[in-house]
């Protein structure tokens, strides 16, 4: 009966999405995985355990609602006449609901638990979530849903555990959540070959924390108890903590490794932002009174982006891509018509580079609006693969955080990148020799020296500079 409700829900979702006609996206370099992501809590069905058995008894549960599980973690043990079977989870996620109590008969092919899936779902695993009848519809829904990057696995903020006492043979009564642990802790227990039930958790409700596992492993390996090995002691030997890369980090690792083949050269320049600041202040006053596209404030970035687009107009090689000619096997340049400028954004889960498409045909207000939209999506982790793909050149405003000169790494399938440093006020001389305040910012360009020579880069950089330093000149190019 519950399954009927779910299937109706799925049906409705499916029809909404098919109506919207989302264009199918082919996975590009920027998408992280080619598999689908579901966002609802799914019932996980009891798989066929073979031998024509239609129902079996739940002997004991190893999880409870709220427990975090990883793929292959034991969910429960069931028994059917002579066979006792361990049921393991196919997904990473959080258990939301158990459909049976220990001692009840569970039906094969019906829901066993509800799991909030937080990993990828492979096509073949979709079958474990849906009954045969509703399988097709949920597949459509899964594919039409925007593909998005995985949530990074984060470690909870861990309270520092108290100094450990000598291990006792009699273990203290386990807390309610004695076997609950974050994925990072579970990974650690597997690495150190520790059973999580053995470790006394010092976290809330008896949760096992990383330090607890380390302590346990250390005490298990060295026979005498070591009272001085307190994890919170400020002085101690060098501790190495192997940490798995989050998905975002892993993607960064992969793309940057690929970027290694590009011979970079750095071209840096100091840009006078004084005029632009003034213009911006004036514009913001006007926007505060009558906003365009809901924008009340505009930052420097849209101006820089537009300036870049104009430079690319003059020097289209900056928008190109290096590839190999399939016939001759020789390197060729693929010129691209649209200026898709990627903006490097620091999000809670790591570095993301969403792309503003077709900047040459956008005005600054639209660029600003699009920038806001992408930033909002990035902070909530909801960037779609469409937003992340198709870039032709990139801007990285690390100056928001700090830094003067940077040496940015060119993104795969591009030939140039701009890194902006922090804006600062310095004293300078005007034409009369008097000391004036100037707002300057350092632009550091990196370019692919295989196809771009220093002169081209310099000229393009000069174009950007002149537009940024003298934004009024952009008026001449207004269409």
């Amino acid at each position: 009966m519950r399954l009927h409700l779910y299937s109706r829900f799925l049906l409705r979702q499916g029809s909404v999405y098919s109506g919207l006609n989302f264009p199918r996206q082919f996975p590009s370099a920027r998408t992280f995985h080619a598999t689908a992501r579901a966002q609802v809590i799914k019932p996980f069905l009891l798989a066929d355990i073979g031998e024509g058995i239609r129902e079996c008894e739940i002997i004991q549960w190893f999880v409870e609602p709220g427990a975090r599980v990883e793929e292959w973690d034991k969910l429960c043990e069931v028994q059917s006449d002579k066979a006792s079977v361990e049921i393991t989870s196919k997904f990473d996620g959080v258990i939301k609901k158990l459909y049976y109590e220990a001692g009840e008969m569970a039906k094969v092919g019906k829901a066993l638990v509800d799991i909030d899936i937080q990993g990828e779902i492979k096509e073949e695993d979709l079958a474990a979530l849906t009954e045969p009848g509703t399988g097709g519809i949920s597949q459509i829904q899964a594919q039409d849903q925007a593909k998005k990057p995985l949530e990074a696995q984060f470690t909870e903020s861990i309270q520092p555990p108290e100094a450990s006492s000598a291990p006792e043979k009699v273990s203290p009564p386990k807390g309610k959540h004695a076997t609950l642990a974050t994925p990072a802790v579970r990974h650690l227990t597997k690495q150190l070959d520790v059973r999580i039930e053995d470790v006394n958790g010092t976290g809330r409700d008896g949760r096992v924390l990383k330090d607890d596992v380390y302590q346990f492993a250390k005490q298990r390996d060295t026979a005498p108890a070591q009272l001085q090995s307190s994890p919170s002691a400020p002085r101690g030997p060098q501790t190495e903590t192997p940490t798995k890369l989050s998905n975002t980090q892993y993607q960064m690792f992969k793309t940057m490794t690929n970027s290694l083949v590009i011979p970079h050269f750095l071209y840096a320049d100091e840009i006078d932002f004084s005029n632009l600041s003034e213009l911006r202040a004036r514009l913001n006053k006007g926007l505060a009174k009558s906003p365009i596209n809901e924008i009340r404030k505009i930052s420097f970035l849209p101006f820089v982006i537009k300036a870049m687009s104009m430079a690319i107009q003059r020097y289209p090689i900056l928008n190109a891509r290096v590839d190999t000619d399939p016939e001759s096997g020789k390197p060729i340049l693929i010129m691209r018509s649209q200026h898709n400028i990627g903006i490097a954004i620091d999000t809670p889960s790591g570095l993301m580079v969403p792309v503003i498409k077709d900047v040459s045909n956008l005005d600054i207000a639209s660029i600003a609006a699009e920038l806001n939209r992408l930033q909002a999506l990035a902070t909530t982790g909801k960037l779609s693969s469409k937003d992340l793909s198709g870039g032709t050149i990139t801007v990285s405003n690390i100056g928001n955080i700090g830094g003067t000169y940077v040496s940015p790494v060119i993104v795969e399938k591009e030939v140039a990148i701009l890194g902006m440093g922090k804006m600062r006020t310095i004293p300078a001389f005007d034409e009369n020799g008097a000391v004036v305040k100037k707002q300057i910012c350092n632009f550091s360009w990196s370019a692919d020296h295989r196809v771009i020579d220093g002169a081209t880069m310099a000229r393009a950089a000069e174009v950007v500079r002149s537009f940024v330093e003298d934004p009024d000149s952009m008026v001449m190019h207004l269409r």
Binding site: E57, I59, K82, A83, S84
Partner: protein, 408 residues
């Protein structure tokens, strides 16, 4: 020793070599976890049922995922109940505790019903990858072994048990069960184990161990044992071991040339206790918590037993005043207890029932203390009644003669 020879002869003292039979457990661990072994036979030299089951569990968890293992062992007298069974339904605990034979109570990790093991009974265990698991495959293998030793009428029946067709008194062929099986399926490995009655001296008394007096009074979920008539195959232990090992080798010996097929049998002895995982599993199997508290929820009730029923279920000598004891036990602990002596009692002894809540059933060693005897007035006669004694007999507590526990 002449000084001119130097001190070298003195220095050449011999370090005594390790006695070959004092096998360190590390050799066992190495043999079990060797990834190049695709098929291997282990035989236990211990008769401790808890240790043997722990070794079996260790082999299930630690042998390489693509290997197939045969493990043979014999146990000293014990009653082995299935993972999810109720000892108070399956076993006569009173006889178990008070019989001279000193039979142990064991709960195994695989499912299925209750069996009686002793030295005339050999157990075989096959651990294989799930892709090759099949309930009959290894039962057939054992049947081939039995046939090769002269038991021609051995076969696997529809319940995946091994039966031998024997002529009964009328000359008709009846199947007698000689081997029962149970299974444990994990993600990476599948285990099938079974026991084979070779020459058990206790065949006649097995039934008295397996008939629990409290059985008709308990309602529970869980797997019931299916009882069948049993018989001995009549084969020597050693011959059986060799025959099964031979059949196993024939089945798995012709593996790919690359795999190293070790023809020798590895003997596992008591030293295996020192392997940490085995020690851990052993402790768990021997703990009362595992044996008694893994019982699924059940309800015991002496109410609603009509006079006609009582002829079969409760001996009629048990007083009607007894009827009125009810309790539910979850994880082996009392959750609801009620005692109602249906207003025919002379005395009005109140029992402190809340005390019982959360206590473990198996820890109550004397029900007479909880339910003191009283005088019962029945049609002008005063009869001394002791419901506590009856409960003791039902649950196998107190120290009476074993026959006191046997249901008529």
């Amino acid at each position: 020793m002449a000084p001119s020879r130097g001190l070298r002869p003195l220095l050449r003292t011999r370090i005594p070599a390790l006695k070959p039979h004092a096998r360190r457990y590390s050799e066992f661990v190495a043999a079990a976890t060797d990834p190049s072994q695709k098929a291997r036979v282990f035989v236990s030299q211990s008769q401790d049922p808890y240790l043997n089951l722990s070794i079996e569990h260790y082999l299930l968890q630690r042998t390489p995922g693509d290997s197939t293992i045969l493990f043979l062992y014999t146990n000293s007298p014990c009653v082995v109940i299935g993972r999810n069974q109720n000892p108070w339904i399956e076993v006569n605990l009173g006889v178990l505790r008070n019989e001279e034979l000193g039979v142990k109570l064991v709960r195994r990790r695989s499912g299925g019903g209750t069996v009686f093991h002793d030295e005339g009974n050999m157990n075989y265990s096959v651990i294989c990858p799930p892709s090759e698991f099949n309930r009959d495959k290894h039962a057939e293998m054992v049947v081939r072994a039995l046939k090769s030793l002269g038991t021609e009428k051995a076969r696997v029946n529809e319940r995946h048990d091994i039966v031998v067709d024997k002529e009964d008194k009328e000359g008709a062929l009846k199947p007698f069960k000689v081997s029962g099986s149970a299974y444990k399926l994990t993600r990476l490995r599948s285990l099938h184990h079974g026991t084979c009655l070779l020459s058990s001296p206790n065949l006649e008394s097995i039934s008295k161990y397996l008939r629990a007096p409290a059985k008709p009074l308990i309602k529970a979920r869980g797997v019931d044992s299916v009882s069948s008539p049993i018989a001995n195959v009549g084969i020597d232990n050693f011959k059986f071991q060799e025959a099964v090992a031979f059949e196993f080798r024939s089945l798995y010996g012709t593996l790919s040339e690359a795999s190293v097929w070790n023809r020798s049998i590895f003997f596992v002895d008591e030293k295996a206790k020192e392997v940490p995982e085995i020690a851990y599993g052993l402790e768990e199997l021997m703990s009362e918590d595992w044996i008694y508290c893994q019982t699924p929820q059940f309800k015991f009730s002496t109410k609603n037993i009509t006079e006609t029923d009582s002829v079969q279920s409760i001996p009629s000598s048990w007083p009607p005043a007894l009827r009125g004891i009810e309790f539910t036990a979850k994880h082996g602990k009392f959750t609801e207890v009620s005692v109602d002596y249906n207003d025919r009692t002379a005395s009005s002894e109140q029992i402190e029932l809340p005390l019982l809540n959360k206590l473990e059933l198996h820890k109550i060693t004397d029900w007479e203390q909880l339910l003191p005897p009283f005088l019962f007035t029945d049609s002008d006669r005063n009869v001394a009644v002791s419901p506590g004694r009856t409960m003791n007999q039902l649950f196998g507590m107190g120290n009476y003669e074993p026959s006191a526990y046997v249901r008529e």
